[in-house]
């Protein structure tokens, strides 16, 4: 571990980073740093102790596993977009990464940062939830594997730990995957609502994850159940009534806020429309593939 000054620690391993955070709980981990700097803004003051994770080797790499893929927390959005293993095992993640900010930001923003900053408008969490992701967290007492949905909920409840997310494991989905978002404009901008769906015909599972319509990104499990029970898994025919019910249930499950970007009513309406359209698209595609 190198200490550049009292306020800047360059960790050389995950254990060093965890130890430094234990010693200084108010310190912030820094990886890509894009959110941290952007949040501070012009003339802002970034006077917090920083623990740089850029040189932590355990946080790098994309490794295929028997179930899908392990993605190091320092993997950038640009790497997700261009990595052949990701394109094969989880095109949904590549699609979500494509809509994440600008090319310059994608070159720096990391998967770990995108989920641990807990910004409701961040892009990757819904796509990861739809891939049933879990996070590997290094703590002083060892490593834990936690479902991403549990991790997001516990963090949003301010059960902030000194743990460090080192990797994200995602499951391969065989079937239709889709990602969609609405924002204030077509160009790079924050999401008002984002949504990812994975429909696995082999396992007869539907996964619907929604961003920016709750305190954190979440899985709309009730809507998922409706679709799983009602889809004709053999014929996969379009079913307008089912799609409408799926959208309505997703809208019912969310708990959006009104902020400067959109009202809660608008967000809830958007969730209903987006979920309905994604399931329509999945059924029209015969539950295969998805938008490129």
């Amino acid at each position: 571990m190198a200490q550049k000054c009292d306020r800047l620690i360059v960790a050389g391993s995950a254990a060093e980073a965890v130890a430094a955070k234990l010693e200084q709980p108010e310190a912030r981990f820094l990886s890509g740093g894009t959110s941290m700097f952007a949040d501070v803004g012009p003339a802002g003051d970034l006077r917090v102790t920083l623990i740089s994770l850029r040189k932590v080797p355990e946080l790098t790499g994309i490794t295929p596993t028997s179930e899908g893929m392990d993605i190091g927390a320092n993997t950038t959005a640009a790497e997700l977009l261009h990595n052949n293993d990701i394109l094969h095992a989880s095109p949904l993640l590549a699609r979500a990464s494509r809509s994440l900010a600008t090319r310059q930001i994608r070159n720096r923003a990391t998967v770990g940062g995108n989920i641990t900053t807990l910004r409701a408008d961040h892009t990757l969490a819904p796509a990861l939830l739809a891939c049933e992701a879990s996070v590997r967290v290094a703590t002083a007492s060892g490593e834990q594997q936690i479902a991403l949905s549990d991790y997001l909920q516990s963090m949003s409840a301010e059960q902030v730990s000194t743990g460090l997310v080192t990797a994200i494991s995602v499951k391969q989905v065989s079937g239709f995957t889709g990602f969609t978002r609405v924002g204030p404009r077509n160009g790079p901008c924050y999401s008002i609502v984002s949504m990812a769906v994975a429909v696995d015909q082999n396992q007869r599972k539907v996964r619907l994850a929604i961003g920016n319509a709750h305190r954190t990104a979440f899985r709309a499990t009730s809507a998922e159940s409706i679709a799983e029970q009602a889809i004709d898994w053999e014929a996969t025919q379009p079913d307008p009534k089912l799609c409408a019910a799926f959208g309505a249930e997703a809208a019912r499950e969310c708990d959006p806020v009104t902020d400067v970007a959109a009202s809660a009513d608008y967000r809830r309406h958007a969730v209903g429309v987006m979920a309905r359209r994604l399931l329509e698209e999945a059924l029209h595609a015969g539950l295969r593939g998805g938008r490129k």
Partner: protein, 165 residues
């Protein structure tokens, strides 16, 4: 107790090792380039990573220097617009294409546009893929031009791709 907040840094900028002292630990790379090294070709604008005026290349990738911690850039190869010019001071294909486009107005965004466009051209050349208009629009969407010369910028990058291949 007073905490120490100043650091020493060695950055590789445009192929030269530059030793810096008395840098705040939280300073952005943009700040260090402009105010410690005098490389004012990299422009200061939004300071939040939205406009792309401050784009430099780090290890060949386009990055917003305003949201890059200077201390975190140690050990990388940083290239600014000053290092983009060839030793013979000859304009590159991209610069030639931008000049030929003519409709560029104030020029404030152009150093960032060039660093971004050059990284995009290199990326597609490496992958041996033909660059399309959509690729340029997506790839250059992190560079705003308030004079709205977007069509000319897209044409210039495509023109440069054509000249290079």
């Amino acid at each position: 107790m007073t905490l120490t907040e100043k650091i020493d840094l060695t950055l590789n900028v445009n192929g030269e090792h530059r030793r810096l002292t008395d840098v705040w630990y939280f300073e952005s790379l943009l700040n260090v380039l402009r105010y410690h090294l005098g490389l004012t070709g990299t422009k200061y604008a939004c300071d939040t990573g939205q406009c792309g005026a401050c784009t430099v290349q780090i290890d060949g990738q386009a990055v917003n220097s305003c949201i890059e911690l200077a201390a975190a850039a140690e050990g990388t190869q940083i290239r600014t617009i000053e290092g983009y010019c060839s030793a013979e001071r000859k304009l590159s294909d991209l610069q030639e294409a931008l000049v030929a486009g003519r409709d560029l107005q104030c020029g404030y965004c152009i150093p960032g546009v060039i660093m971004s466009g050059d990284a995009l051209l290199a990326e597609y050349a490496d992958r041996d893929e033909r660059l399309t208009s959509d690729d340029v629009r997506l790839g250059m969407s992190g560079n705003q031009c308030r004079c709205t010369a977007y069509e000319k910028i897209v044409e210039a990058v495509l023109d440069a791709a054509g000249r290079t291949t």
